[in-house]
């Protein structure tokens, strides 16, 4: 290896696209580490507090694309207070100061400020791509800065962010000279947009491939845009309401028929079902369909639509499709790989929902299915066992029974056997979410069989520490474990403290761990940050009472010690 020129190594490493591969080669020897670090342009950081900006830039000076994740996953479900952390500003600031040639920034569950966006837009001349998923803290003013200043912007993709809408003119801020847009997604914005500015922007963006509009964009504007952009591959409609007899609607039909490249469709944030036939011509070619925000489309219209979509690979839908509708999906969508069924009614009245029947039908009809998120009213062991047999290729299996502790309604047994069958059959399972009545037995199965499992989500499950211990002991590839409302305590937490350095993070809320247990862990493992979220000052009065239960604990490995931006209610032990 001594006489192997570094240029050759670098050239070889160029072919390595995945982070894991690059991480692996950097561990081979010092010279490979050096070559790899100088050639890596795309960096993925799964926990923004595991490292700091300076060390990142130090190691990877040629950084061009950065992906950062901030808050723990359960923050999505309101379990983490707003000002917990996950601020991106320090990263942008550091990269700006040290002259990083940043081209792409992808953030998930982070707090982004208008100041940060402004700084971002002014600091990196070649900035091309901004993707924000489940972020918050910014307004349309920040977007205006991006639009105004990023001369070569190709991608602005806002997915499910909480954006304060100042109803300003951010879209008008794209200069006339900006013609580089390839992807624009502002579906999550709640406010009005300047339609004329949007039309002009679309007209000059001849490279546009992906466009997702918000609810404020009417069908008339959509029609005008589509007429000028027949090359679109990915479309998210805003409002899809019109009089089917109108001239506008006729023009829309014509425009859509010319869009021969659309493979992905979403939106329908407002919809008049009578207008749906306009999209039937493109349904034939669709590989991705996301109707999970289309509350206006009901069971029968949904089914009619699906019958046209024979090539679907990815389907996101609301549970108002019903078990019968899922049967239609099963018989129509033979290429289906990913299915997500979301609840349309959070208070579980039960009428518009799906049950184990729908899932069994899908598993029988769609052998290529490998990724599932399924919200349902009930589930049986028999159904899960059948699903496991039909679909041994699951990599992601997330089941959410709306009432999380109900047993199998037929046998009144816990769902241990059903999930056991899933982990035993699906040898490639990487992500699993459990629900329903579950005892320690299910964890025994998981520890025994889920060898590739990287992420496990647990709620209202298990009987004793044994459950959690089985998982920690058995799942060698475990990276993220998140547990709520389960009877796991200090014994489970402290038996194998070294395990947590092999994982990204552990979340435990409303469990049995005590302050004393957490303190012990923090003392034994200095390279872990053990954070306690102390809302409502429950522990302020008696910080030394080690017997008190900790409501929320989040621990993660870190190379840079306790974070300095933690708010008052977060204690790093």
């Amino acid at each position: 290896m001594n006489y192997f020129p570094e240029e050759v190594l670098e050239h070889v490493f160029d072919f390595l696209k995945s982070h894991r591969d690059r991480n692996a080669v950097s561990l081979v020897c010092k010279s490979w580490y050096r070559v790899e670090r100088f050639s890596r342009e795309r960096v993925f950081i799964g926990n923004c507090y595991a490292i700091n900006p300076d060390r990142l830039i130090e190691r990877f000076p040629r950084l061009r694309s950065l992906t950062l994740k901030g808050k723990p996953h359960f923050a999505d479900f309101n379990l983490v207070p707003h000002d917990w952390g996950g601020f991106v500003y320090p990263w942008i600031d550091a990269m700006a100061k040290r002259g990083v040639n940043l081209e792409e920034l992808r953030l998930k569950r982070m707090v982004v400020s208008d100041e940060g966006l402004e700084l971002l837009s002014r600091s990196f001349v070649n900035f091309k791509s901004l993707i924000l998923v489940s972020c918050e803290g910014f307004t349309t003013d920040g977007l205006a800065a991006i639009a105004s200043n990023c001369r070569f912007l190709r991608e602005l993709d806002l997915q499910e962010n909480e954006v304060e809408d100042h109803r300003g003119q951010w879209l008008s801020c794209f200069p006339d000279s900006c013609t580089s847009l390839v992807s624009l997604n502002f579906a999550c914005l709640k406010g009005e947009v300047n339609l004329a500015a949007l039309e002009r922007l679309m007209a000059r963006s001849c490279n546009l491939r992906s466009l997702k509009l918000n609810h404020a964009v009417p069908l008339d504007t959509l029609q005008k845009i589509l007429a000028q952009a027949p090359q679109l591959v990915d479309l998210g409609t805003g409002s899809f309401v019109s009089d089917p007899d109108s001239e506008t609607f006729r023009r829309l039909r014509t425009a859509i028929q010319k869009c021969a490249s659309i493979k992905s469709l979403s939106g329908f944030l407002e919809v008049a079902p009578c207008c749906l036939p306009a999209i039937y011509p493109i349904c034939l070619n669709l590989t991705t369909l996301n109707l999970s925000y289309a509350q206006g489309i009901h069971g029968s219209e949904l089914i009619k639509l699906i019958r046209h979509c024979g090539k679907l690979q990815r389907l996101w839908i609301l549970d108002c499709i019903g078990d019968k509708g899922l049967g239609v999906v099963a018989s129509t969508c033979k290429e289906l790989q990913e299915l997500r069924v979301f609840p349309s009614d959070l208070h579980g009245d039960g009428h518009a929902a799906v049950t184990e029947e729908g899932l069994v039908a899908i598993s029988a009809g769609c052998p290529k299915l490998h990724s599932l998120l399924y919200f349902c009213q009930q589930m049986t062991n028999a159904a899960l066992i059948t699903v496991a047999k039909n679909c041994p290729n699951f990599t992601r299996f997330r089941l959410c029974i709306i009432n999380p502790t109900i047993p199998d309604p037929v046998t009144m047994q816990p769902l241990d056997e059903g999930f056991g069958a899933i982990v035993q059959s699906c040898k490639g399972l990487r992500r699993l979410s459990l629900s329903g009545l579950l005892t320690d037995q299910v964890f025994l199965y998981i520890g025994m069989y889920a060898e590739q499992l990287e992420m496990l989500s647990v709620a209202f499950a298990g009987d004793s520490d044994k459950g959690m211990l089985c998982v920690l002991n058995g799942c060698k590839k475990l990276k993220k474990l998140e547990i709520m409302d389960s009877p796991f305590g200090n014994l489970a937490l402290l038996t194998d403290v070294g395990k947590y350095e092999t994982m990204r993070s552990l979340w435990m809320s409303s469990c049995e761990v005590t302050l004393g247990g957490c303190k012990t862990l923090a003392k034994k493992m200095p390279r872990l940050n053990v954070e306690i979220i102390n809302e409502g000052d429950q522990m302020e009065a008696t910080p030394d009472d080690d017997r008190q239960k900790v409501e929320k604990m989040y621990l993660y490995r870190s190379l840079v010690g306790a974070r300095r931006d933690a708010p008052d209610f977060v204690w790093t032990l």
Partner: protein, 187 residues
């Protein structure tokens, strides 16, 4: 029930009376510390205990009323909620009256994310102090107390039910003068 409350008050510094908690109505953290990880509304407890003898450590929570369950992203939850209120037509623009004010105002409940947001806005709008909510005492001690008329025509104290439930059931708001509201708070 009455005597229980009285003894608690005389024992400690009565800090609980002015405590603002993020807990669910009907739950008491002091009790929860001793029992297990139960996070459920008290009325659900009684029927679940009957069903699951040894499972009573984990009472099934009321659907959609436990923080963190069901695991639906808050963005999605908000979208669903908005669509629901748009569909019903109730719980959106509601009249707000304040005792002593010459005319009423109207506010859009959709605009607010939580009770804190709403109360801040009301205090701003009417230039009054509403104070801090506690389950036991309501808004006792403040100049004013916010109340609302629900779908069934009853006048309720703002803050008792989960926010989302409030938004869908609130038909109008009335900010009552402290002296009148005292009666409500001490129930």
């Amino acid at each position: 029930m009455e005597t229980q409350i009285m003894s608690c008050e005389s024992d400690d510094l009565n800090l609980k009376a002015t405590e603002l908690r993020l807990g669910l109505p009907g739950t008491d953290p002091a009790l929860e510390k001793q029992s297990s990880n139960k996070r459920a509304l008290s009325e659900i407890d009684s029927c679940s205990d009957a069903k699951n003898g040894e499972q009573d450590r984990r009472a099934p929570p009321a659907k959609g009323q436990v923080v963190g369950w069901p695991p639906v992203r808050s963005y999605r939850k908000n979208c669903l909620q908005q669509k629901k209120s748009e569909a019903d037509g109730s719980g959106m623009y509601v009249k707000v009256s304040m005792d002593g004010a010459p005319y009423l105002r109207k506010i859009d409940l959709k605009v607010y994310q939580s009770y804190l947001d709403l109360l801040k806005a009301l205090q701003n709008m009417f230039k009054c102090t509403i104070g801090v909510y506690t389950e036991r005492e309501g808004y006792n001690g403040s100049d004013y107390a916010p109340t609302y008329e629900d779908k069934e025509g009853d006048w309720m104290l703002v803050g008792d039910v989960p926010w989302e439930m409030f938004v869908t059931s609130c038909k109008r708001l009335r900010i009552m003068k402290g002296s009148e509201a005292k009666g409500l708070g001490c129930l």
